[in-house]
């Protein structure tokens, strides 16, 4: 049975209208006009144990509303939701014991205190047994390599260091489900890689189910086998990245270096665009109209090619194109 089950969840919000003027501001304390916004419009999906799912969509699409419902802090208007067989908002306290959440933009650590103090307090909050706590902490400390700054106040940590500690804080009670909300936002390349490596590792080794929301498509590409795309409160796509490529655009890009100064002149059916950047040629083509081997054959015949390779268009482009098609 699916670990996370979402069926026909709908959630609307009332948003108060703001009006200009002192008098209106005064009146709005007592009386307000509202407009209704459908944040989630009958969404459904299932996630099995041990999956690592990317949950993406533009800002305001309903991502965080979904996460809030799944973690039990928001009650939907209608629909059914089971996480580990429980209705999150009905059994919130029991539910959150099995869930870890990381918000990349906010900290859950005690700002002025050494990191280790936060972990100790979380031990008491989650009522973790001493030996289990020690084991979990030691393991996380080693894997995330945070030993050297355990005694430094959180406010003095770099963003990358802090994010590693946030992960420890969210995992110290060994949850079986982990929600990650933009865990790599603002990080430098090295920290990003370390975080990604770690996410992959706990997913594989511990079998932790992970839902990852992010705007960083490299995160998605390197971590998620499955993505769910949400826009204007509706689920627009649920499947593999390859499946999305197939659906949106089958285009490939051939990248070649030819002898300096020569102009590339191609008139072939199936070629969509030819661009030159830094003396490198990017040829976008439709592989159903012209096969890669045919294209390469034709070019190598006509030019002296120094180097060449075929690429998929970056996932970012695919997603952007998808958003555009769906008009979201």
């Amino acid at each position: 049975m699916a670990q996370i089950l979402v069926e026909d969840i709908t959630k609307t919000f009332k948003v108060s209208k703001r009006k200009e003027g002192l008098l209106n501001a005064f009146l709005s304390v007592f009386r307000r006009e509202y407009t209704t916004i459908k944040a989630l419009d009958s969404i459904s999906f299932k996630i099995d144990e041990g999956e690592l799912v990317g949950y993406i969509g533009p800002n305001g699409a309903g991502k965080s509303t979904t996460i809030k419902i799944l973690s039990g802090i928001l009650v939907p208007d209608s629909g059914d939701c089971r996480v580990l067989g429980r209705i999150p908002w009905k059994e919130r306290i029991e539910h959150v014991r099995d869930v870890g959440v990381v918000f990349g933009q906010r900290t859950q650590l005690w700002w002025d205190l050494p990191v280790i103090e936060s972990f100790e307090l979380l031990k008491d909050i989650y009522k973790i047994k001493e030996n289990e706590y020690k084991r979990a902490l030691e393991e996380l400390i080693e894997v995330l390599n945070i030993k050297s700054f355990l005694d430094i106040p959180v406010r003095q940590l770099s963003l990358g260091q802090r994010m590693r500690c946030e992960l420890v804080a969210s995992l110290i009670h060994s949850p079986s489900i982990l929600f990650l909300d933009e865990p790599t936002i603002g990080l430098d390349a090295v920290s990003k890689l370390a975080i990604r490596e770690f996410i992959k590792r706990i997913n594989v080794e511990k079998g932790t189910t992970i839902i990852l929301t992010t705007h960083d498509m490299d995160d998605i590409e390197s971590l998620c086998s499955r993505i769910i795309i949400i826009g204007s409160g509706k689920i627009l796509y649920d499947g593999t990245i390859e499946g999305l490529r197939e659906k949106v655009s089958k285009d490939r890009i051939l990248i070649i270096d030819i002898e300096d100064g020569k102009d590339l002149n191609l008139r072939l059916d199936g070629i969509k665009s030819v661009n030159n950047e830094n003396s490198r040629w990017y040829i976008t083509f439709d592989p159903e109209k012209i096969s890669p081997s045919e294209l390469i054959f034709k070019i190598t015949n006509a030019y002296n090619v120094k180097d060449l390779f075929v690429e998929n268009p970056p996932i970012e482009e695919i997603i952007a194109k998808f958003y555009l098609e769906q008009k979201i």
Binding site: F13, K14, V29, T65, K68, S71, G72, I73, L74, V75, W89, R92, I93, E94, V96, R97, V99, V101, F103, R106, Q108, W110, W111, D112, L113, E117, L121, D124, I125, Y126, K127, P153
Partner: protein, 267 residues
């Protein structure tokens, strides 16, 4: 339950540790807090110097009422700061984090920021209270001390209840909290003086709706042996500290209605 108490003291410990990270700043905050509240009493001394008495009340009698309310309020402010700044917790998403933890939200919010610097107002209130007791020549036997302590605890619970009610408002509108501040800070201002000096309507509001009268006025009358000044039956005067716990309990219940509202709107 025992676990909850233990966790609460862990929270307080961690909060104090955070504040002691900035020792000088803590000392200055305390002094500032003391001075600011002390000036308030200096003003009252001036008024007594000018007018002699306040509708029959002497300065040392007023000091009793004043001392009790400020001591209670200072302790409550130190404990319930999390509710005082609750609108901020909602706005910056920290309240979501609290809901993500498998412990009582009230416990966690109480633990969020134990404000040591409120020691300043506490000191001021306590000094005024002692001044009043000495000048009134009240003989402090063990009964009276226990009574005073329970009165102050009752006061702490009442003010904490008010803070919680204020915080409950921010589940509906983030903006209404500042307005509601009138009830806590305004309540202290009002109860700094014996309630009998106010018009009847106000007296009744602070007896029956927001039971501030039970924090200092009624107990103060008993210590002064002036129970005759109110028509409230003696029995109720004796149990005035309990009123605080009842008010606190009701406030917590209302607060949970607020949480239910929050989780259906997400604010």
């Amino acid at each position: 339950m025992l676990d909850d108490v233990r966790l609460y003291f862990r929270y307080i410990g961690i909060s104090i540790k955070s504040q002691l990270q900035y020792k000088t700043s803590f000392i200055l905050l305390t002094i500032g807090n003391f001075l600011l509240t002390f000036m308030d009493f200096v003003g009252i001394i001036f008024l007594f110097e000018r007018f002699g008495s306040l509708k029959g009340w002497r300065l040392e009698e007023l000091a009793l009422f004043y001392g009790i309310i400020h001591t209670s309020f200072a302790i409550s402010e130190a404990f319930s700061r999390g509710f005082d700044i609750f609108d901020r917790l909602v706005r910056n998403g920290n309240f979501d984090r609290i809901l993500l933890r498998p412990r009582s939200p009230i416990l966690q919010i109480l633990g969020i920021d134990f404000q040591l610097m409120r020691w300043g107002r506490f000191l001021q209130g306590f000094v005024v209270l002692i001044y009043g007791l000495i000048h009134l020549g009240v003989m402090l036997d063990i009964f009276k001390i226990l009574f005073l302590v329970s009165v102050i605890i009752g006061g702490v619970l009442t003010f904490s209840g008010i803070f919680i009610l204020q915080a409950t408002l921010s589940f509906w509108s983030v903006q209404s909290l500042e307005i509601a501040n009138s009830f806590s800070y305004g309540g202290v201002e009002l109860a700094s003086y014996p309630l009998s000096i106010y018009p009847k309507v106000f007296r009744e509001i602070f007896i029956f709706i927001i039971p501030i009268a039970f924090i200092n006025y009624f107990p103060g009358l008993m210590i002064l042996g002036k129970e005759g000044l109110t028509e409230i039956p003696r029995l109720i005067l004796y149990i005035s500290p309990i009123i605080g716990s009842i008010f606190f309990y009701i406030s917590c219940k209302i607060w949970y209605i607020g949480i239910r509202h929050y989780s259906s709107t997400g604010s």
